[in-house]
C-alpha cells in the first residue's frame, strides 16, 4: 500500500482550531503513515507537556503513526507544502490548521485516488458553516474561477473532474512543485499547485463523502498578513500563469550548450513561449521577464529536475520529460 504523509501548516492557532484538526486526523478511519506539523508561529512553543497535545502525541504513538513537529522558516506555507511534497511519500494529504476533516475523509480520498487512473489531486467538500453556496452550475474550470463558486463549497454528489482544488486535499507528491515565487501570503498557492498538476495531465477530482469543516478564523492562520501588495503580487503571478495556459512555458535559465540541446526538441513542443539567455540560438524573451511574470523559475530548472529524478538518461530526453 502507498505511504501517505499528512502535513499541517500552522500559525497562531495553538489553542483554537489546531487541536481540533489534530484530533480529527488521529481519528481517521484510514490513518496516514506519518503526520508532520509545520509550526510557522512567530514564537513557537514546545507543546509536548501541554495536556491535550501530550495525549495527541501518545495516541499517535499507540496508533503507529509516526509524527514530527518541525519549526518552519516563516517564508509562507508554499515553502512548507513544498517540503512535504518532496519528503519521499507517494501521497500527501494537506490539512489546513482550521479545517476539520470528518473521520472518513482520508479513507475515501485515497480509495478513489487509487481506483481511478492518473489522479493528481482529489478533494472533498470544504464547508464553512453556515454558508452553503449554490454550486449546481459550477464547472471547476480555471477559466471560470472569477465567475462561479468553488464546487467544494457545497456537498458534492458525484465524482467531478475539475482543474483546481481549494484548501485541503490529497495529492500525488513529487510530480509538480509549489510556486515558491509567491509572496509569504501564498495567495492562490493551492489553486496554482493543483492547476499545475492538471496541466501535466493528471486528473483533479472532487468527490462525495469527504467533508471537511472549515472553521474560518479571523485570528491567526498561515495567511495572517495584511499587506495588500503581497496579495497583488501573487494575484499577478496567478493571472499570468492562467492567462498563458494555452502556451507551453519554457524557461532556459542555463548554459549555451543546454540551449542548443533544447533547440532540438523545440519543434515538438506545442505552442511554446520561450524565455532564455541566448536569443542567437533560440528566439526568446529574457529570464528577468519570466521571473516577473511567473515568480519562481525552479520548476523549469532542468538541472534541479534531473537531480530530483536521479536522471541517468541524456539531456535531450530530460528536456522531453520536462516539457512534453
Amino acid at each position: 500500500m502507498d505511504k501517505i504523509l499528512c502535513s499541517v501548516a500552522t500559525r497562531g492557532r495553538y489553542h483554537t482550531t489546531l487541536p481540533l484538526v489534530l484530533s480529527a486526523i488521529i481519528n481517521q478511519t484510514r490513518l496516514p503513515d506519518k503526520l508532520v506539523i509545520f509550526d510557522d508561529n512567530d514564537e513557537p512553543k514546545d507543546l509536548r507537556n501541554e495536556l491535550a497535545y501530550s495525549y495527541f502525541f501518545k495516541m499517535l504513538d499507540l496508533k503507529g503513526v509516526q509524527w514530527q513537529w518541525l519549526f518552519a522558516e516563516k517564508k509562507g506555507q508554499h515553502h512548507i507544502h513544498q517540503m512535504a511534497n518532496t519528503m519521499g511519500y507517494k501521497w500527501v494529504w494537506r490539512v489546513d490548521d482550521d479545517a476539520i476533516p470528518e473521520p472518513n475523509v482520508l479513507e475515501n480520498l485515497y480509495r478513489i485516488a487509487t481506483k481511478i487512473d492518473n489522479v493528481g489531486a482529489i478533494g472533498g467538500s470544504i464547508l464553512t458553516p453556515p454558508l452553503i453556496f449554490d454550486t449546481s452550475k459550477s464547472t471547476g474550470k480555471i477559466a471560470n474561477i472569477d465567475k462561479e463558486p468553488n464546487i467544494q463549497w457545497n456537498h458534492i454528489e458525484n465524482i467531478v473532474e475539475v482543474e483546481h482544488l481549494h484548501c485541503s486535499f490529497l495529492y500525488r507528491a513529487g510530480v509538480h512543485d509549489y510556486n515558491l515565487g509567491l509572496s509569504r501570503v501564498a495567495h492562490r498557492e493551492e489553486t496554482l499547485f493543483t492547476y499545475g498538476l492538471y496541466q501535466k495531465g493528471y486528473k483533479i477530482l472532487t468527490v462525495s463523502d469527504a467533508v471537511t469543516w472549515h472553521f474560518k478564523n479571523p485570528q491567526g492562520g498561515i495567511r495572517s498578513e495584511t499587506q495588500q501588495e503581497l496579495y497583488w503580487h501573487d494575484e499577478q503571478i496567478f493571472r499570468n500563469i492562467v492567462g498563458n495556459s494555452d502556451r507551453t512555458i519554457v524557461v532556459l535559465n542555463c548554459g549555451l550548450g543546454d540551449h542548443i540541446v533544447f533547440n532540438s526538441i523545440l519543434d515538438s513542443i506545442p505552442n511554446p513561449m520561450v524565455f532564455g539567455c541566448y536569443p542567437e540560438i533560440i528566439p526568446c524573451r529574457s529570464i528577468a521577464e519570466a521571473q516577473a511574470l511567473f515568480g519562481d523559475l525552479d520548476q523549469w530548472n532542468i538541472y534541479k529536475k534531473m537531480a530530483q529524478w536521479n536522471w541517468t538518461g541524456n539531456l535531450e530526453d530530460a528536456y522531453r520529460k520536462l516539457y512534453l
Partner: protein
Amino acid sequence: MIVIHPFAKKLVNGKQNPKNYPYWKELIALIDEPIIQIGIEGEQQLTPDFRKNLPIPELRKLIQECRIWIGIDSFFQHLAWDEGKSGIVLWSVSDPLIFGHPENTNLLENRDNLSKNQFLWWDFTEHDASKFIEPEIVKNYL
C-alpha cells in the same frame, strides 16, 4: 584542419574547471596538421591560430570546414552535434551518457571518476589531471 575547443567556462570561485583537459600542449605536439583554437578572451593560447569570441554563425562555419574537432564537455560539443559533425570529446568527471552525444568519440578514462552528483555547479569538484585520458591515446582516434 583540426579545430580545438580546450576550455570550459570559468568557475565563479576562480578555480580551474574540473572538465578542462590538462594535456593540451602534449596533444597538440603530437598532431601534424593545422590547428585552429577557438575560445574567448582571457583563455590560454595554445596554438598560433587562436580565434577568440567568434559569433555562433562563424563557429558553425568552422565546424563545417574542419576535418575533425576536439573538445571537452562544453557548449562546443553540442554546437558541433547540432551541425551534424562528429568529433572527439575528452571527458573526466561529467557523464557522457547524460551530457554527451553518441555520434561523437567520447573518451572517458574511467566511469569511476565521474562525479557522484552530476547536476551541481562544478565549483564543488576539484580538478584532477589523473582523471583524463592520455594524449597518446587521444592521438589514435584522430
